[in-house]
Amino acid sequence: MQNDILSILNESEGLNAKVFSLVRFKLLASLAALGQDGATYRELKAALDINDGVLFANLNVLKDMGYLTSGKITSEGKELELYTITPEGQDEWKRTRTWLCRFLRCGV
């Protein structure tokens, strides 16, 4: 693998540019760590401190891209929306992280 900046920049063509926003990074990073377990909408909202409009819109974009799924669950008698990362989402997040790390020269 080459380390010159042009090669690194060209490697970004294999990535999904729509993932590159702070909110989407936060969501993918949070949900990737939880795997199949996922997190509820209210947990994401509170922990990431993102307002409803922005959160809902970005979750839907990630869902439309096939990176997240959602479904209803019941907790303590309350119906909640649970968001889970898909294997495609995990792969894309891994690719993005790896590329970002090369771009920012992590560990160099």
Binding site: L34, G35, Q36, R42, E43, L44, A46, T74, E76, L82
Partner: protein, 197 residues
């Protein structure tokens, strides 16, 4: 030169180390009477918080908990819960708890029961105080920030249970408590004497 295989140290396969790790957790669940069902969100939540509370109490289960959007959480535990759902559901374990571990499990069950909200609040409060070194007021503030969907009463109850489970009063604490409550105890005794009881 021929290799001397007699000197080789037998290393258990990684798989058996992992098995031991999750089997200890099953032994705790069994002791607590926790019938785990992977399909239930609350069960997965209870499992995470029980393990984090036990780790905070000083029992090394091999599942270190860190702070995630869901509070203190172990992704390694999630992996094992999904990898061995039948074993967790049937509470089948080759691992045995020591008398001290049984006592801790009993205490955990007595104080928290298997209530998801109390366990979640308690584990979060414990994590902030014990792992992040927050003072009690700051820890409560962080719990409320991370779990704003729980009522004041639910937070207060969870925090109180965490204190009961995780913190053993020191000699100094007991002395301070004695001093603080002594005046009321003396007043009560005087009152009883006055009433001729």
């Amino acid at each position: 030169m021929e290799e001397n295989t007699d000197l080789a140290v037998p290393v258990p396969p990684l798989r058996s180390i992992t098995m031991e790790k999750y089997q200890k957790v099953i032994a705790f669940f069994k002791e607590l009477g926790f019938q785990f069902d992977i399909s239930r969100f609350d069960d997965r939540l209870i499992a995470q918080k029980l393990v984090c509370l036990l780790e905070l109490k000083g029992i090394d289960l091999g599942y270190s908990c860190s702070l995630y959007v869901r509070g203190p959480y172990s992704p390694d535990l999630t992996q094992d819960l999904y990898a061995f759902p039948a074993e967790f559901a049937a509470l089948v374990s080759g691992s045995r708890l020591t008398p001290q571990e049984k006592e801790t499990a009993g205490e955990l069950g007595r104080i928290f029961g298997l209530k998801p909200v109390s366990l979640e609040v308690g584990a979060t409060y414990g994590y902030y105080t014990l792992r992040q070194g927050s003072d009690p007021l700051e820890a409560v503030r962080q719990v409320k920030r991370l779990k704003p969907f729980y009522s004041e009463a639910q937070v207060a109850l969870g925090v109180s249970k965490a204190k009961q489970f995780l913190f053993t009063p020191t000699e100094k604490d007991l002395e301070a408590l004695k001093e603080e409550t002594g005046i009321w105890q003396r007043a009560s005794l005087t009152s009883r004497e006055y009433r001729g009881e």
